[in-house]
């Protein structure tokens, strides 16, 4: 009974993830492809839950479904021809890329199936639960993460905040609308855009 339940949950999640992924690349309409990402991300979140990683599952829903998917849908709807279905889905490199992909799948597949997974060897490390090490503190998954992040990984954590600041500065510069187009003309001339490029920019 137990194994059947496990197999069913796993099967449903795998079907949602892989089926969604196949539809993402096979559907002709780009907006449909964007929406098909939903079962893929949700299926992966389900896998995280299934593997007892609640925090990761919550993050997956928040970031991938809540932010990235919405962003993609916005980007698609703001692009011209969002609903057109007459774009070609393959180009001349279809066959070589397929061959390369098959070789990669074969190599990774044989590696994964032949690998001796360290399920047994980790016994010693997981023998003592975290709550036993810190007396009087009820340690959960998320709080353990927080403790580690702000003690052991404090410095990488701070580096990540510098990363976010730098990314924000860069994004603002790129996205900001110029008020005076005349001022920028000088720059373009000095950077010596060739004639064909200059024509392109006038179109």
């Amino acid at each position: 009974m137990h194994t059947i339940l496990h197999a069913t949950v796993f099967g449903v999640l795998a079907l949602a993830t892989l089926g969604g992924a196949v539809k993402v690349i096979s559907t002709r309409s780009i907006i449909h492809a964007a929406f098909w990402l939903f079962p893929v991300f949700a299926g992966i979140a389900g896998f995280y839950l299934y593997l007892d990683a609640q925090f990761l599952a919550a993050m997956q829903v928040l970031i991938y479904i809540g932010a990235i998917l919405v962003l993609i849908v916005f980007a698609v709807t703001l692009t011209r021809n969002a609903t057109s279905t007459d774009e070609a889905q393959t180009n001349g490199l279809f066959i070589p890329v397929l061959l390369a992909a098959l070789v990669l799948v074969y190599a990774l597949g044989t590696t994964v199936f032949n690998h001796l997974w360290p399920i047994e060897s980790n016994v010693w490390l997981d023998a003592v639960p975290l709550s036993a090490a810190v007396p009087g503190v009820m340690v959960t998954d998320v709080s353990a993460l927080g403790l580690v992040l702000l003690s052991q990984y404090l410095l990488p954590f701070e580096i990540a905040s510098v990363l976010l600041l730098a990314a924000m500065v860069g994004a603002i510069v790129l996205a900001r609308k110029e008020r005076t187009p005349a001022a920028t003309a000088g720059v373009a001339a000095v950077e010596a855009a060739p004639a064909d490029v200059r024509e392109l920019s006038n179109v």
């Binding site: 190599a107 990774l108 044989t110 590696t111 994964v112 032949n114 690998h115 997974w117 360290p118 980790n122 010693w124 490390l125 023998a127 003592v128 975290l130 090490a133 810190v134 340690v139 353990a144 403790l147 580690v148 003690s151 052991q152 990984y153 404090l154 410095l155 990488p156 580096i159 990540a160 510098v162 990363l163 600041l165 730098a166 990314a167 500065v169 860069g170 994004a171 603002i172 510069v173 790129l174 110029e178 187009p181 001022a183 920028t184 000088g186 720059v187 373009a188 001339a189 000095v190 950077e191 010596a192 855009a193 490029v197 392109l200 920019s201």
Partner: protein
């Protein structure tokens, strides 16, 4: 301020100074009025970078810092617990083997036991035991303490597999210091590269004073400084995920920098291209790291090296993906296709930074990851790097001959230089395989990266100055530079000859040591290829020299003004290039010490 904070300030002085400088630049930029005063900001930031380089040099002279008392104490505790664990294991075996009497636990006795069949932990090696005893200051124990043997075993396992493996609380460690100690190398190798990056940022900023980045000057400078900070994180980290943080920090700063002139379609295209291909390379890298994580349960280089006893196919797949990520970063063929287009579209200052400091970081990290984390795979990665090196040298040099655009010429020459550098990395692997001292390859790599960074930034700067004056990036823009700007032309000539490897200039010394390290490991074919291809490179460098010295200037050409900051920078670059070529001894010795810090053990 407690002792831990002092320690962190001391260990990360250049990084902290660099971030502080970047934030200061952002702030001052808001207060300054628009216009030429912003150029003062670039000079100020450049001087700050010089200070950062000084801090890095100070770290380098001080050598590796000693761990603070807190770290030493907890390592001591761990080592003692580990020794207790060994005792417990011994007790266990003596119970199962009743004939043996309880002996005195000396390291020699334990090592002797290992040769016996009854040793319970097969993966514990002799080195582990000796290190354990050395750390615990123990010569032997005569009492058998079996209490809590299981917890002791956990402690011992943690020590062997590195503290990073477990959350600090599990071990009773709570100092952030210890994490710093385990996650970052803080050795002379990283200190030397901090100097190189700060120096590169200094030169690039000096040359960028007159470059057309009038808009958002403050943001431009601060992003450049943040990028240099990311490079410092990269070379300093011992953990593949922290390394990824540095990699992404740099990449996220460089993407907008490449697309800085967003009204110019070429710049925007370069930015998009670099973003897409760079993200692909990052994805390859992090996928490789994830494969290593499932294999070893850790992303720490020491742990990976300690747990890898045989060539494991999963780890090999991970390593391959990681090398692909770095191969993109250093623009080695066949992962070089982005470089010419991106350099062409990027502002000169950014292209100079990208082709030197960023590449230097890629090589430094490649050397650290491969030699520290994957010595067991020396054969595989040395072969792979040998192939990439040969391809890069041939592809870079042959395509560079046909280039008319100076930026593209420098891009392809950079690909060829990456090929020479890969020969040095490959030589360390071959040396490890043959049981030789791998120091020569490392020394050649550090030396060449230093002189290449300095020289190539100079070459890009001259190209930028000429392009700004003539409005053309073609080689013909250099025509008659001898009459228009004699000093500039002479400086460029020296830099080009150095890049080509003419004796008595820095490039020759660098190539000499690289090829020497290859020959010592019996890589005659590769060295022959590199040497003959560097003759080809002299041809296209001289094509540019011909434009400057033999062809006449255009009739309407006026004298070219360089500006004081760029002039000082150029003088410095040329002097360094000549100095390394004429009197290489101190530089070679410094490179030797630097490589020793990483490879000597």
């Amino acid at each position: 301020m407690n002792i831990d904070n002092v320690y962190i300030l001391h260990t990360f002085a250049p990084e902290i100074a660099l971030v502080a400088l970047a934030l200061l630049v952002l702030l001052v930029d808001l207060l300054l009025p628009k216009g030429n005063k912003r150029q003062v900001l670039a000079v100020f930031a450049a001087l700050g970078c010089l200070g950062v380089a000084g801090l890095g040099a100070w770290q380098w002279t001080n050598g590796a810092p000693t761990p603070p008392a807190a770290v030493q104490a907890s390592v001591h505790v761990l080592a003692q617990r580990g020794a207790v664990a060994l005792e417990a294991m011994l007790f266990h075996t003596s119970v199962t083997q009743p004939t043996s009497t309880a002996p005195v636990l000396t390291p020699d006795f334990l090592v002797g036991m290992m040769q016996d069949k009854m040793w319970p932990l097969k993966s514990v090696t002799e080195t582990d035991i000796r290190a354990l005893y050395k750390a615990a200051n123990l010569t032997g124990m005569d009492s058998l303490n079996t209490t809590d043997a299981r917890a002791a075993l956990i402690a011992y396992t943690a020590l062997r597999r590195d503290i990073v493996r477990l959350p600090a609380q599990k071990l009773g460690l709570a100092h952030a210091d210890e994490a710093v100690w385990w996650l970052f190398a803080n050795d002379q190798f990283s200190a030397a590269f901090k100097v190189i990056f700060a120096l590169a940022a200094f030169l690039v900023l000096l040359f960028s004073v007159r470059f057309p980045v009038e808009r958002y000057r403050g943001e431009f400078i601060s992003l450049l400084l943040f990028a240099a900070f990311g490079l410092m994180v990269m070379v300093n980290s011992l953990d593949l995920v922290v390394l990824f943080l540095g990699l992404e920090l740099t990449a996220l700063c460089v993407y907008p920098l490449v697309a800085w002139h967003k009204d110019n379609p070429r710049s925007a295209e370069a930015g998009t291209k670099y973003l897409l291909l760079g993200s692909l390379a990052s994805a390859c890298y992090i996928y490789g790291v994830s494969l290593l994580f499932v294999t070893f349960g850790s992303t720490h280089l020491n742990t990976i090296a300690a747990d890898m006893h045989a060539a494991n196919p999963m780890a090999l797949a991970g390593l391959l993906l990681i090398i692909i990520g770095f191969g993109f970063k250093v623009a080695g063929a066949p992962l070089h296709l982005w470089a010419p287009d991106v350099y062409q579209g990027a502002p000169y200052a950014v292209a100079a930074f990208l082709s030197t400091a960023s590449k230097a970081a890629g090589f430094a990290v490649l050397l650290r990851v491969l030699t520290i984390g994957f010595p067991h795979f020396s054969e595989q990665w040395a072969t792979l790097l040998g192939v990439i090196a040969a391809l890069s040298v041939v592809v870079g040099n042959t395509i560079a001959v046909h280039q008319n655009n100076v930026k593209r010429l420098l891009a392809y020459s950079g690909i060829a230089q990456a090929g020479y550098l890969l020969i040095a990395v490959m030589a360390t692997g071959a040396a490890h395989l043959a049981g030789h001292d791998p120091i020569d390859g490392g020394k050649a790599l550090v030396l060449y990266l230093f002189l290449y960074t300095v020289g190539n930034i100079g070459a890009f700067a001259v190209a930028g100055i000429v392009a700004q004056d003539t409005g053309s990036e073609e080689m013909s823009a250099f025509a008659g530079l001898r009459t228009r700007a004699p000093l500039l032309a002479f400086g460029m000539l020296i830099l080009l000859l150095s890049l080509g490897g003419i004796p008595l200039l820095a490039g020759f010394v660098g190539k000499w040591f690289i090829f020497l390290s290859g020959v010592q490991e019996g890589q005659y074919l590769l060295v022959l290829l590199g040497a003959s291809m560097s003759v080809v490179s002299i041809y296209y460098y001289l094509l540019l020299a011909k434009q400057m010295y033999i062809l006449p200037a255009k009739a309407d050409a006026k004298a070219l003004r360089i500006g004081l900051p760029a002039g000082i920078g150029l003088l410095l670059v040329v002097l360094l290039t000549v100095a390394i070529g004429a009197y290489p001894r101190p530089f070679v010795e410094a490179a030797q010490v630097t490589a020793q810090a990483l490879l000597g053990r």
